[in-house]
Symmetry: C2
Subunit: 242 residues, 2 copies
């Protein structure tokens, strides 16, 4: 005989409040800069305690949809710089997710004392050992990307003995080393002889370049350059915002 305690409302109250406000913001009814009702007004409107509306508003603030100012109130934030969540998965996962057959080929692997160029690329000052890896990823036997990677062995000693002949270094690192920060730089180049051969495209064809640097608490882990055939591969970023 026990019925739902809250008659016919699926979501919890604070979620309903949050969704109500979010909707008004996204539909433009409350434009950027608009002052949202005060907490005590929402308390009156929804007949709940202040902690409940506070939770709803706090989450909206955490999501950067509104800005809260003491004594002044809460305001709809203006569409911040267009920011997109660019999902760049591990290449193997990316190809597998596309339902295509993943292929991997280790082209070269060298363990050496860091040269001046290596140190500059990794952004470290003192000397140390590094592993340099070149490899190729393919999808359904067609070259998908070539990878040129440098791993700092003082940050990741295990990489010296890891077997990269079958497991791609990106996947290996992802599962062995936690990262805290990274940076991508995206640019375009035209294929030189070596790149053209590796990707099986014409010399002078466009290539998309991703340079990725990964750190763990200010300590460099790896620097990698990925080259994709530019006219075929596409990076897609989807985002939401106010």
């Amino acid at each position: 005989m026990s019925l739902a305690t809250n008659a016919a409302d699926q979501p919890t109250l604070y979620k309903r409040i949050r969704a109500d406000i979010e909707k008004r913001i996204l539909t433009g009814e409350w434009p950027p800069g608009h002052r949202i009702p005060f907490e005590h007004e929402l308390v009156a409107r929804y007949g709940c305690s202040r902690m409940t509306v506070n939770k709803a508003l706090s989450e909206l603030a955490q999501a950067d949809l509104i800005e809260r100012r003491r004594r002044a109130g809460s305001f709809v934030r203006r569409p911040q710089h267009l920011s997109a969540v660019l999902k760049i998965a591990d290449i193997r996962a990316e190809i597998t997710a596309l339902g295509r057959g993943y292929g991997y080929e280790l082209i070269g692997r060298k363990l050496r004392a860091a040269t001046a160029a290596d140190r500059e690329r990794l952004g470290v000052k003192k000397a140390g050992k590094v592993v340099a890896i070149t490899c190729r990823h393919s999808a359904d036997k067609v070259p998908f990307a070539v990878e040129d990677r440098l791993i700092d062995l003082s940050s990741v000693p295990d990489a010296a003995t890891a077997d990269f002949s079958r497991e791609p270094p990106g996947s290996w690192l992802l599962h062995h080393v936690p990262w805290t920060e990274a940076e991508h730089t995206i640019s375009a180049i035209v294929a030189d002889d070596r790149t053209a051969e590796a990707l099986d495209i014409a010399v002078g064809a466009p290539c998309l370049v991703i340079d990725r640097y990964t750190w763990r608490s200010a300590r460099t882990i790896t620097a990698v350059r990925l080259l994709y055939p530019g006219d075929s591969h596409r990076l897609v970023a989807r985002f939401k915002g106010g």
Copy 2:
């Protein structure tokens, strides 16, 4: 004579709890999958009420750093697909932020009934009017990007009368139309005659291409293609993750 009520701790308690846990996750001390202490344990450790630790844990969950499961506990999430926040600001803001002089030039503007190609590009089915705009952005008098844009007038009627000869359409839209969702596609091409001339680069030089589609609640607003000289311009994405 009034001292701080809480002796020598700047941040509030729940923020300290949150920061403590975040640190352990980011340093790898608590790896992905690790169960973090139960709320009642944290309550005992910090000597506070459950609502306080609950607030800390809820925020970590909202930030996708941990996952909370009823009866089971809270767990460190595994590094989701590498996801980067790619900040692609309004071009004018981007150039200004670099401390360079922004220049803008409207190359062409046409108001027309949507052609089949327009409709396909915007992803709409029924006919309607569109504005097609071509323009060029420059930094310190040097071509920075050329823009080729289509605006759906059924979504943004004001765009028909807006003056795009001085204000770039991107900035105008950003300030007049709230967006809810967008998608970027990044690729590389080599410059053809027209592009080479517009960007003042050689024919066959690499170009970075960004195609951006913007919607407002499933309604297409605009489709834009931006072409950047590929060897000079770089998109930088920074991100954090577990």
